[in-house]
Amino acid sequence: MKILVAIKRVVDFNVKVRIKPDHSGIETANVKMSMNPFDEIAIEEAVRLKEAGKATEVVVVSIGNSTAQETLRNALALGADRAILVQTDAEVQPLAVAKILKKIAEQETPQLIILGKQAIDDDSNQTGQMLAALLNWPQGTFASKVAVDNQQVHVTRELDGGLEVIAVKLPAVITTDLRLNQPRYASLPNIMKAKQKPLNVIMADQLAVDITPRVTTLKVEPPSGRKAGIKVANVAELVDKLKNEAKVI
């Protein structure tokens, strides 16, 4: 079984984002970029399935400008077998990403596609579901446990009220939640080996997919600030304030 994993290069989760002075977006020049954390979990799960003998090949794909090659090399160092970059400098929104990934899936014919449940930049949480719809495949989103046996996968899903287990027939799309696994660190020998693994670059316009953005960002603003209040000296003062000043208890 071949597994396709889609990854995105995003502003590193430790960076405090700055809004551009003209409010057109977030400052990304000279900012540390990393693989979206949910996508690291996706790669880890795919590699573990391969190590367990359930998968034969892990192919990783990313869409973006040429710097995404670095992120793909990182994925190869984590255990993916080969990489595909669909290269474009244009803004690619979730629906367009799903359409491109559908094309790649048709070429690669994987049985399982694993994606992070959302990217930590635009927080859309859409691409996996859209891809599943376009392929007319079942989906197991927000997965905290994945068990593959023969032609189906049992997916434990994290819901607002607890957990749900569903069985989906292959081929299927899975999106990862935080507790699916703890991704490994790339070892130095594996980082060296990753440099030799194949990385194929396809220009996005060669795929004949309409990736025109459907949504325009008019402006980006900081959240309305919340000021620090006061420190109280003890429990009695706290309860007094909550009762008589804030009047919430």
């Binding site: 859409q126 579901q129 599943a132 994290e158 607890g162 935080l178 402006k219 620090a228 909550l242």
Partner: protein
């Protein structure tokens, strides 16, 4: 203009997030029709028919819809929504699972997690874990939207009911089977709808110590929340998690105990009306957004707090 709102429910009760979604739909304007898809869920449709501002309820009642699986519910929505301008669902795990499928089948974008309606095609939504807010405009013929429930006041239930129309479309779901649920059982209020939330972090140190949080929550009639660190450490189940990737809450009173205040946690609770932080580290970032901060050892403070509340 017509808006279709997808009801979230468990075949018995309508989830409160649906009511907030109705409020967002009202701000968008036009006729509002609710779709209740499920199995043996007529009672849900009857309740939905009483929500003020709703014009009609469509009830799709069939065993194949019992567990609200994304694949066939999305196809059903697409069949029903042919001539609608807007499709809305709550930005809960249900809405997030199902609605992008609808958008893709319609070949339109989805706008996720809106917190404000500017006009029928322009909305405000958080990005970067709530560290920025984007005002976005959709150019698509149908707007597909998920709504952050804490950002909109729930619509009220009235006395008179609008008509319920039965939808006979039955779509099978041959590739996905529901296996089981492990739903958290709790006598406490639901986290996203509670007036008071008491949350604990990693400083609690163990599952047993989390009972301290429970004791305080019960005194205040509060729901219990947790930071991601506390969930990852196994102190509490995943559905207690408050934060950008967990639940977003905005209660009247939020008490954060032993939570340092990582950005991802703050994104899930900073819209609370009053925030109390209890932490032994006086420099913890949580104090920068707390209305009332108390520096000290939670193992001493919680019992004192319980005693003080008993007075």
């Amino acid at each position: 203009m017509k808006t279709l709102v997808i009801a979230e429910h468990d075949n018995i009760n309508l989830k409160p997030a649906t009511l907030s979604t109705i409020t967002a739909a009202k701000e968008i304007g036009g006729e509002i029709i609710i779709l209740v898809a499920g199995s043996q869920c007529k009672v849900v449709a009857e309740n939905a028919a009483k929500i003020t501002g709703v014009n009609k309820v469509i009830l799709a009642d069939a065993p194949v819809y019992a567990h609200l699986l994304a694949e066939n519910i999305a196809e059903l929505i697409v069949k029903i929504a042919a001539d609608f301008n807007t499709i809305c669902a709550p930005a809960t795990t249900f809405g997030k699972n199902c609605l992008p499928r609808v958008a893709a089948l319609l070949d339109v974008a989805q706008i996720s997690d809106i917190v404000k309606v500017i006009s029928a095609d322009t909305f405000v939504r958080p990005i970067y874990a709530g560290n920025a807010f984007a005002t976005v405009q959709s150019k698509d013929r149908v707007k597909v939207i998920t709504v952050r429930s804490t950002a909109f006041t729930p619509a009220a239930l009235g006395v008179s009911a609008v008509p319920i129309e039965n939808c006979e479309i039955v779509i099978e779901n041959p590739h996905t089977t529901f296996v089981s649920h492990e739903l958290s059982q709790s006598k406490r209020p639901e986290l996203t709808a509670a007036r008071v939330v008491v949350s604990g972090g990693r400083a609690l140190q163990s599952k047993e110590n989390f009972k301290l949080i429970e004791s305080l929550a019960d005194k205040l009639g509060a729901a219990i929340g947790a930071s991601r660190a506390a969930v990852d450490a196994g102190y509490v189940p995943n559905d207690y998690q408050v934060g950008q990737t967990g639940k977003v809450v905005a209660p009247e009173l939020y008490i954060a105990i032993g939570i340092s205040g990582a950005i991802q946690h703050l994104a899930g609770m900073k819209d609370s009306k009053v925030i109390v932080a209890i932490n032994k580290d006086g420099d913890a970032p949580i104090f920068q957004i707390a209305d009332y901060g108390l520096v000290g050892d939670l193992f001493e403070i919680i019992p004192q707090l319980n005693a003080e509340l008993d007075k």
